[in-house]
């Protein structure tokens, strides 16, 4: 099959048509819905308005955005620290063992999200395994409340997205030229300085990719706050869900989703920027 744009277009056509009909058009529809008014009895009134976007600034909803950002940010920070450490340890393992270690680090990520979240309910609920373990150690008070807390939501998010951070950080770490670190040490840099000035800058693209992924998926998450937060922690994802399935305010739900997409696109742009900057610094380090 020699390169031919006509044939290539023909090959791509069915998939692109599918994506257009069932992704581009529906997402465009959501974009449009955000500018309409909510009908008196739910439904949509087709008059142009910007009030759905104004509503995003309402202290109640702005507060939910801030809570979501705080929870997602904390989860991202923890996941990046743990994930980077794991990726570093895997990249430092003997070459022939790395693929299998990586496979097992990433495997949980591909199993059912609900089940992985449910596993934490089993551990954290009042009569769960952790309470039981504490009792065996002699603890006699009230069972600690661990489930339905912000900590539980953050733990669930870290647990679910950690494998991706490991994968994202492993890629640049495994490509790292060991001679660079050696050269740095030979020139008298301490291990910490070598890490901070040589290894870390070269792995920024991986960290950025992992961090953006965790943050975007966490801030729009709906399952984890619903199950581990017990509905006590409204996050944007739950708010969107409520607008469509209970409050019946589709235009506002659409505006909320657009805000989510805007956050995502903004972060992806930043990530591209970080990746380019990281690549530049890596070149500098390699040349210098």
């Amino acid at each position: 099959m020699t390169p031919s744009n006509a044939r290539s277009t023909l090959l791509m056509a069915p998939a692109l048509a599918w994506l257009t009909a069932l992704m581009v058009v529906p997402c465009g529809l959501i974009l449009a819905l955000g500018f309409f008014r909510r009908g008196t009895y739910g439904g949509i009134e087709y008059t142009f308005t910007l009030e759905n976007f104004g509503l995003l600034l309402d202290p109640l909803y702005a507060g939910i955005f801030l809570t979501s950002a705080r929870i997602a940010g904390t989860a991202t920070l923890i996941a990046v620290v743990i994930g980077y450490a794991a990726a570093y340890a895997i990249a430092a393992a003997p070459r022939h063992r790395q693929p299998i270690l990586l496979f097992f680090a990433v495997l949980p990520f591909w199993s059912n999200y609900l089940i992985r979240t449910y596993a934490w309910i089993v551990l954290l609920n009042r009569e769960g395994l952790i309470t039981h373990g504490l009792r065996m150690l002699g603890y006699e008070g009230e069972p600690p409340s661990m489930l339905y807390t912000e900590g539980a939501v953050i733990t669930g998010l870290v647990y679910n997205y950690l494998p991706f951070v490991i994968l994202a950080c492993y890629a640049p770490l495994s490509r790292l030229n060991p001679e660079l670190a050696e050269a740095s040490r030979d020139l008298g840099a301490s291990a910490f300085t070598t890490f901070r000035r040589v290894i870390l800058p070269m792995t920024v693209p991986g960290i950025a990719a992992g961090a953006v992924f965790v943050f975007v998926l966490s801030i729009g998450n709906f399952i984890t706050p619903a199950l581990l937060g017990g509905g006590r922690f409204q996050m944007i994802g739950n708010l969107v869900y409520a607008q469509f399935l209970t409050a019946n305010d589709w235009p506002f739900g659409a505006a909320l989703s657009m805000a989510l997409i805007a956050i995502m696109m903004g972060l992806l742009t930043l990530q591209t920027f970080a990746a380019e900057k990281g690549a530049g610094e890596a070149r500098e380090a390699a040349d210098g």
């Binding site: 496979f103 680090a105 596993a119 089993v122 950690l162 989703s257 989510l260």
Partner: protein
């Protein structure tokens, strides 16, 4: 990486042990409890498979499992065909525009909840009746993106001169595809299909929003979500274990066929 002192090696191994413990203990607890005769998380009262037996007697769960299988198989077949053609189309293109890359990449990164409500709005504004068929239509969207990503990765190292040789020897484009290209990329195509199958079996949010009203189109993740809301039960542990076995088997197969599907 550079040579390491014994102390730093112990440190690195401890990090690995702690992280694998964090990743696998919650899952292991779930699996172990699914075999606990008493069903309580607090006391081990002997090994039993009775909770698995209970699943077989639960008509709702069996119906949900059948629905999941229908959705996963059909959406995987469509997505594999479309995704493979898409990958071939993109990789044989002289110039790949950014817009094309973004369009093909979007289904993998767009938040599920956004795609879910977009599809719900789309179907309901069109007054398109919803059910298993709308879940299938929706699952193809992200499945085809994943299949094409896996197949494209394979095509990056594909030696196109073999297809030129086939054409020079007089084979038609279709014959070349069927006899030369497809057999060479088949492991990647199957790996992509297995990945799509797993993603579809596990997918909850989009199915939840596009299933329409009524219980008849409930899938397993929807069933599990409903059960979890009532609390921890030994049946969920058993069901969760079975679903994980299916995912892990499909993915391990996928990985064996094609390094790099899950991890390089």
């Amino acid at each position: 990486m550079a040579e390491r002192t014994p102390a730093s090696r112990v440190g690195l191994i401890s990090v690995l042990i702690l992280i694998f413990a964090f990743l696998y203990i919650p899952i292991a607890v779930l699996v172990i409890l699914s075999f606990n005769a008493g069903g309580m998380p607090t006391a081990w009262t002997g090994f039993s498979v009775k909770w698995y037996g209970a699943l077989l007697g639960n008509a709702d769960i069996l119906q949900a499992a059948l629905n999941t299988l229908i959705v996963a198989v059909i959406s995987t077949l469509i997505a594999t065909a479309l995704g493979t053609l898409l990958a071939l189309g993109i990789e044989t293109r002289r110039r790949k525009g950014r817009a094309l890359e973004a369009l093909v990449f979007a289904p993998m990164i767009i938040p599920d909840i956004v795609l879910a409500i977009a599809l719900l709005s789309f179907f309901s504004l069109l007054k398109f009746p919803m059910g298993l068929h709308t879940i299938i239509l929706s699952h193809v969207v992200f499945n085809l993106a994943f299949v094409s990503a896996v197949v494209r990765a394979r095509l990056k190292t594909f030696d196109w001169s073999v297809t030129e040789a086939s054409a020079d020897l007089g084979a038609s484009a279709f014959t070349t595809f069927r006899r030369v290209t497809l057999p060479l990329i088949l492991p990647a195509v199957i790996a992509g299909a297995l990945l799509a199958f797993t993603l579809s079996v596990d997918e909850f949010i989009i199915a939840f929003f596009t299933a329409g009203a009524g219980r008849s189109s409930t899938t397993l993740p929807m069933q599990i979500f409903a059960m979890i809301r009532f609390g921890v039960t030994p049946e969920i542990n058993a069901l969760a274990t079975l679903v994980m076995i299916v995912s892990v088997t499909a993915l391990t197969l996928s990985q064996r066929l094609n390094r790099g599907v899950i991890a390089p």
